[in-house]
């Protein structure tokens, strides 16, 4: 039985369990609302993984904290709708000045990063592994206090434990001030990381596409809702619609069902994808086919349709979602909509470092090395392809960065096979044209600054739209609206500058 923790939310005492995220606790206390947008709309968490900034709250007097990335602590004071009071903001210098040195620095502790860290450590290198979550596992093996890790995940977690890997959790890289040097923000202050080689395993986030009503609390990413449930948000006996695109939808639906949700419908925007996808798997990835069959069994009785959401309905939170199959539309009452349209790589850090990027993926050589010597990229960064590709690329990069090319070479053919899955995913789950016409003039595209579709449609570049409307200029810095405007208007994002995540001013000051 997990420990009980007492904290205060919006002035009211509340009890929760250890390892519950502040986001989940606030949603429970406030009917799903974590903040008011700049135009006063109620908002709840969307991504569940620290990207969207919709879950920002004031924690112990410090505003704009991402509650999904913060675990509840005894005595914590959380305010989800504060009037900012400057005098309450504590005056502490966060800069701790501590330093860590690594032969190999691995950024991201999902399967790719875990594998890379293990191999480099087994080769005798001093390895520092850094992740912004409280536990290893990334999104796909995200820690779940309610459930033991899968056998596959447990194998790698155990392998990590056997080596002296320095694992920094709840730590974000914010800047790369010089070659071989990174700044990380941690709970204990700012840490300077010095390294000889670096392996980037920053993973991916969900792609969100705007449609009328999509900003209502109760609408989450598909992986987003799963992450929030893992951190303590209850979906027990709630009616859930899972929608969007990609194999993630099935895994999420199965997970939510196990956790007591009444999954009403899985709506996949691509027609007959499962059939075609399954047939290709037989040829390409027999192991994945077994997975798919097992999933299908877990999802028995749940309606699976070729459809996509066209409108979410509700006054202050989600009440129902209207979907269409292209010829007919209908409305599905629900308490939650888990909706993501595939994944996009988290390219901010590789972009900041100047790594060559093409078609949304970091370009790498056969050893996973980027265009920047000594910097490697693995997993979703080099093409969204799931866990097998992540693990094998992680092992190649881990050995290669530790100057063990013979060890790395053993995985090359396996990698080439896993990489085919990238194209299979791309082809199978290509987004349909109709999704471009979902937003109406009033639909918000940039959730940070509440910029509506109607204000954006006449601009010719993201830069122009940013300057005139603030689209993409809020806390998330275009992480959510960037992929959306790329899909809607063909705009590409411009340059990345430090800090790559919002950080305390003191962390950027010269000491």
């Amino acid at each position: 039985m997990a420990d009980r923790i007492a904290l205060t939310i919006n002035g009211h005492p509340m009890e929760t369990t250890a390892e519950t995220s502040v986001a989940s606790a606030v949603m429970q206390a406030s009917g799903g609302v974590t903040r008011r947008s700049v135009t006063g709309e109620p908002r709840g968490p969307l991504c569940g993984m620290g990207v969207c900034f919709e879950c920002r709250v004031t924690i112990d007097g410090v505003p704009h904290q991402r509650s999904c990335q913060t675990s509840c602590q005894p005595g914590m004071r959380v305010d989800s709708n504060p009037n900012f009071n400057a005098s309450e903001a504590s005056v502490t210098t966060l800069r701790s000045g501590s330093e860590m040195n690594a032969d190999v620095l691995v950024v991201g502790a999902g399967p790719a990063g875990m594998a890379a860290a293990c191999c480099a450590a087994e080769a005798g290198k001093r390895v520092v592994l850094i992740d912004d979550n409280p536990h290893a596992g990334g999104q796909i093996w995200r820690h779940d206090p309610a459930k033991a890790p899968s056998k596959h995940a447990a194998t790698w977690i155990e392998r990590m434990r056997r080596h002296p890997i320095e694992f920094m959790t709840t730590a974000q890289i914010i800047a790369a001030p010089a070659e071989g040097k990174m700044l990380a923000e941690t709970a204990g202050g700012l840490v300077t990381l010095r390294f000889a080689r670096m392996i980037l395993a920053c993973g991916a986030r969900e792609r969100f596409l705007p449609f009328p009503g999509w900003t209502l609390p109760g609408i989450f990413g598909a992986g987003g809702l799963q992450a929030l449930v893992k951190s303590g948000f209850s979906v027990n006996e709630r009616k859930v619609v899972v929608a969007g695109s990609g194999p993630l939808l099935l895994a999420v639906a199965a997970y939510l069902r196990k956790r007591g949700a009444d999954v009403r419908l899985i709506a996949e925007q691509t027609r007959a994808s499962l059939l075609r996808f399954g047939a290709s798997l037989v040829w390409n990835q027999p192991s994945k086919l077994t997975e798919a069959i097992s999933l299908r069994w877990q999802l028995r009785g749940i309606s699976y349709r070729t459809a996509w959401p066209i409108r979410a309905n509700g006054a202050n939170c989600l009440e129902s979602v209207t979907l269409t199959d292209g010829s007919r539309s209908w409305t599905e009452p629900c308490d939650a909509l888990a909706c993501g349209f595939g994944l996009v790589a988290n390219l901010e850090l590789p972009t900041l470092l100047g790594c060559a990027i093409s078609n949304g993926a970091v370009q790498v050589d056969r050893w996973q090395q980027t265009s920047k010597p000594g910097i490697y990229a693995i997993g979703e960064l080099t093409g969204v392809g799931g866990i097998d590709k992540a693990l094998v690329e992680g092992q190649i990069a881990g050995w290669a960065a530790a100057d063990q090319p013979n060890q790395a070479a053993a995985f090359l053919s396996e990698r080439d096979q896993a990489a085919r899955f990238v194209h299979l995913l791309d082809d199978t789950f290509a987004l349909r044209q109709e999704l471009r016409s979902l937003p109406d003039a009033e639909t918000i595209v940039c959730r940070c600054e509440d910029v509506r579709f109607g204000r954006l449609s006449h601009f010719t570049s993201f830069r122009d739209a940013k300057l005139q409307t603030r689209c993409g200029m809020g806390s998330c810095q275009g992480r959510i609206c960037g992929p959306a405007v790329q899909f809607l208007f063909g705009w590409s994002s411009d340059t990345i500058r430090p800090p790559i995540l919002p950080t305390a001013l003191a962390n950027l000051a010269d000491s």
Binding site: F84, A86, S87, R463, S475, P498, L505, A506, L508, D510
Partner: protein, 374 residues
């Protein structure tokens, strides 16, 4: 009709203000830029509308321009985020308080409303300043604006009076009052106004103008954290004058509740990249004045280049040896403030009217051999 009375190169705030003024005066105007409206130094600037007294000529131009901004303020659309904020000049010690008093006298004698604040009064005015400031000077009628939207609005006004806007227009050369563009087309016009900031050097390599790089940071939203633009009084001595890289405390509120933090100055660098050491020095300077900033979230940083002249005054008026071509550039860090006054001077010059303030101190000929000011 074939051709324009005036072609304006540059859709930054200076070019945009010139376009509005010239079109309103009845001229046929075309505005050319290779990039979106207000996306150069205009996008990088803080948008502080400020009267400065570095020199009498600078005072005359900034003062006149701030009056124009205040007249215009009620007409500006909300996305221009105009604020009648005043400016708070902060003095750390007695020496700087002496400077406060002489600045006060100078402004008062010329009709600019100012008020001396002692240590207690400045703490009341901005409670987040560190305790123990000597005092400061509040300039009542300075303001703030969001420059890219102001530039766009100026151009919209010009278009209402018949002006033409052509973006993605890359100028490759000028001959006989025709502008050649990279796509092979030509724009025929009687006069050309160059309002292209530091880029003007590409067409006028002899101009005594250098880019001065600046870094800026914007914070998340903290409504009420400060209410005035706050600038250290040492700003002029620490940031404006010297040749070395320098920083000064300069913090400005925005209508959104965000804050813009500057400032830094560097010459002899043309890289756009953030330089962590300069950024770090600039923030460290701010924390000396306002330690409570330390926990606030910085969400974005950027750099920009000011077009700086040796005497810190802009280049406004006919280009020497280039008949029909007029400069409106070299505004250094004051382009947003002085855009409106610059536009009035350009209109007067091109229409033969008497300028509203003497043009002589800003004439490009002052730097020509044998020019008025050498």
């Amino acid at each position: 009709m074939n051709g324009y009375d005036v072609a304006i190169l540059g859709a930054g705030i200076v070019g945009a203000a010139c376009a509005r003024a010239l079109a309103t005066a009845g001229m046929r105007v075309i505005i050319l830029d290779r990039a979106p409206i207000g996306s150069g130094a205009t996008a990088a600037g803080m948008g502080h509308l400020v009267v400065l007294d570095d020199s009498d000529a600078q005072f005359a131009l900034t003062r006149f321009s701030c009056q124009l901004w205040n007249e215009l303020a009620p007409l500006l659309p909300t996305d221009c985020e105009h604020m009648h904020s005043g400016t708070l000049w902060v003095a750390s010690d007695d020496e700087e308080m002496a400077a406060v008093r002489s600045k006060h006298t100078y402004y008062q004698e010329r009709g600019v409303a100012t008020e001396i604040l002692d240590g207690k009064a400045i703490a009341d005015a901005e409670p987040n300043l560190r305790p123990g400031m000597a005092g400061g000077l509040r300039v009542r009628d300075d303001g703030l604006v969001y420059p890219p939207c102001a530039a766009r609005w100026f151009i919209e006004k010009a278009q209402e009076f018949g002006a033409t806007l052509r973006l993605n227009a890359d100028v490759v050369g000028i001959d006989n009052n025709a502008i050649q563009l990279a796509d092979g087309s030509r724009v025929v016009c009687d006069k050309i106004v160059h309002a292209t900031g530091t880029w003007t050097r590409h067409l006028f390599p002899q101009l005594p103008m250098r880019p001065k790089k600046g870094h800026l940071v914007i914070t998340d939203r903290y409504p009420g954290f400060i209410t005035h633009p706050i600038v250290e009084l040492g700003y002029l001595k620490s940031a404006h004058g010297g040749q070395r890289a320098s920083v000064a405390f300069n913090l400005q509120p925005r209508k959104t509740g965000q804050m813009l933090l500057g400032s830094s100055r560097q010459i002899d660098t043309e890289t756009r990249a953030i330089e962590p050491h300069m950024l770090g020095r600039m923030i460290a300077r701010a924390l000396e004045f306002m330690p409570t900033l330390s926990r606030l979230s910085a969400i974005r940083t950027w750099t920009g280049f000011r077009a700086a002249t040796p005497d810190s005054l802009p280049l406004i008026g006919p280009a020497t040896d280039r008949p029909g071509q007029v400069l409106a550039t070299g505004h250094e860090g004051l382009g947003i403030t002085t855009s409106l006054a610059t536009a009035e001077l350009i209109v007067a010059h091109l229409t033969g009217r008497t300028p509203p303030i003497p043009l002589a101190p800003y004439l490009p000929s002052r730097f020509a051999e044998g020019g008025a000011h050498g």
